[in-house]
Symmetry: C2
Subunit: 203 residues, 2 copies
């Protein structure tokens, strides 16, 4: 096992514990135990919990970017890409019901303690916001793309918060359907000319 | 100063600290310091932080009910009452930008630690949900009143989460306008007969 791999294992374990238990509630010793490392080996990699937090935020930012890049590559249209974002709530429904949204809950916790990493954690919201804005621009809503991006992001946050409080999977599915309908209403409609032409072709 | 008043002051101080710093981050000693009490006097009222948490949740539940009763009494129509709920985000915009929603952030924190009081904290969401459902029923949406209540509650949660992450007051105002427009679209329309009658009256 290389030094890099041990560090990665620490960050992976901390990522999971911060999500499942919260940052404040997770101890330095708890992370070391989860990875099965001696204190000496652990301190070689990280001196403070704040250093681990920085590494966890960097890991989450990298994973977020990889996910957004994948959606961009695999979904053919802006509408499909926006739906990938909404579908994320369904894919992650089990974890969300147990622990909420990893980004939202970490941001909320760090904001309360006015933690120096608070702004970095919020930058992951910024990654989603920028990507969503691009999709709304491509969908033909350049004028209010940022407002639409913030609206969709906030709806996803609200769904995660209530699904977590009520442990309600049907609620998640119902709200994602509602988002899909809203997104469809924003998609460009065939023009009257195109519609006529289509009709003529069929007749 | 009576015994009851000292207890109330402890609960008030804990309520503020749990909101501003988080439950886990707030120590027993920190609450005693905020109230300016000796340990002996403090322990007379509360033996554990969990006992204080129960009292804080009871206080918040009582205040929530008083606020809902006030909205019911003062706002003349179901639409006005639903708007009172949305306006709450604007009234509390400073605190929300700094600390998020008090209900949502406490629920999220307690859910992560699987705290026994987690369900009680979520019951405050339940108070809002029940009251919102009644308003949507009165607005003529008996069939999907609960889904509409959950939708509005989740939108308010999402707005609080992002306003907290981005410290963005304009975003709060923009989203509340969007909610107002959505609520207006759900309000009963004058029927065609009524509209014709109104026209005849004016002509």
């Amino acid at each position: 096992m290389t030094v890099a791999t041990t560090r990665d294992r620490i960050v992976e374990a901390a990522d999971a514990l911060f999500y499942q238990r919260g940052f404040e509630k997770t101890s330095f010793a708890g992370i070391a135990d989860a990875v099965g490392l001696s204190r000496g080996n652990f301190y070689y990699h990280f001196k403070t919990k704040d250093e681990i937090l920085d590494a966890v935020i960097a890991l989450r930012a990298a994973r977020t970017q990889a996910m957004l890049d994948e959606w961009t590559a695999l979904a053919p249209t802006p509408l499909d890409r926006l739906r990938c974002f909404a579908e994320m709530l369904i894919h992650n429904r089990e974890a969300i019901q147990h622990h909420g949204c990893p980004v939202g809950t970490l941001c909320a916790e760090l904001a309360k303690s006015a933690h120096p990493a608070s702004g970095n954690a919020a930058m992951i919201f910024g990654q989603f916001r920028d990507w969503l804005r691009e999709q709304f621009e491509a969908l033909g809503h350049a004028g209010d793309a940022d407002a639409l991006a913030m609206h969709l992001l906030s709806r996803s946050q609200g769904i995660a918060a209530l699904a977590n409080a009520f442990h309600d999977e049907a609620f998640i599915r119902h709200e994602v359907e509602r988002i899909d309908a809203w997104l469809a209403s924003l998609a460009p409609k065939p023009t009257a000319t195109r519609a006529r032409r289509a009709k003529n072709t069929h007749s």
